[in-house]
Amino acid sequence: MARPDLSMGAPAVEALVARCATAAVATAGADGYPTAALAVVVPGDGGCTLALPDGPIARTVASGAPACVVVDDWPSYHQIQGAILRGTARIERGLPSLRGATVTSFDFAKAAP
């Protein structure tokens, strides 16, 4: 039996990001291990930005190195949603932007019996 497609469309992913308070951000560390931090989602008229803690992850993302951002919502098991953004930041209106990143998403409601 084919597995159901759990992916969400862009509007649903944008809605998920908009109701998030935080996002997990990761980059490759210098020692070969992934490293991560929790960013705070800042809503704005032109979309959301992430406020990152000062440190190597913020500098790595700003330098244009590859990064991964994960957001999720777990209101109940069958309503879990998540989105994983992977890409490299490019400067957009003076700020690094991951808006061209590849997005993988899932919505468990699409698998509910």
Binding site: A24, A36, L50, P53, D54, V61, V70, A101
Partner: protein, 152 residues
């Protein structure tokens, strides 16, 4: 390696975490997971056929960010653990399943889902990974006024 304060977080029951694994193309890949602490390691289960499993078997270096799910309020700090992931005994998950019911954390898992996970562990369709901790640190969470920004 792990302070008492860090250990208290890990031992506080099943938890929501973000697992990040290397993917061979420079950017890590992240997954929201339920984590269990047992036998001095972070445990989680996934499908044997999952891409995540293939990535872990290809490169065992991971980091685990213990944080609430993204729609919950931001904490002041989160625990970051780095370590190596290896396949582990699936009995660990069975022994911790009661903790899910007892704590309701990180969220209640319906009995039919728990039963399905148990069947698939028994059948070998699901596997358990254990992350041996090599480094751990509390990482501060910024405020909305933080200087470093990225658009998403």
């Amino acid at each position: 390696m792990i302070t008492q304060e860090q250990r208290a977080v890990l031992e506080s029951g099943p938890q929501h975490m973000y697992l990040f694994v290397n993917a061979g193309d420079a950017a890590p890949v992240g997954y929201p997971m339920t984590a269990f602490w047992a036998d001095e390691a972070v445990h989680f289960t996934t499908y044997r056929a999952a891409r995540k499993t293939a990535r872990l078997l290809a490169d065992d270096r991971v980091c685990c960010l213990f944080a609430p799910c993204a729609t919950e309020p931001a904490p002041d700090r989160v625990l970051l653990v780095q370590g190596r992931a290896t396949l582990a005994d699936s009995d660990v998950i069975a022994s911790r399943a009661a903790d899910l019911d007892a704590t309701g954390r990180p969220l209640p898992v319906p009995p039919d889902v728990q039963a399905k996970v148990a069947r698939r562990l028994d059948a070998g369709k699901r596997v358990v990974f254990a992350v041996a901790v090599e480094d751990a640190a509390f990482v501060p969470v910024p405020t909305q006024e933080a200087t470093w920004r990225v658009r998403i």
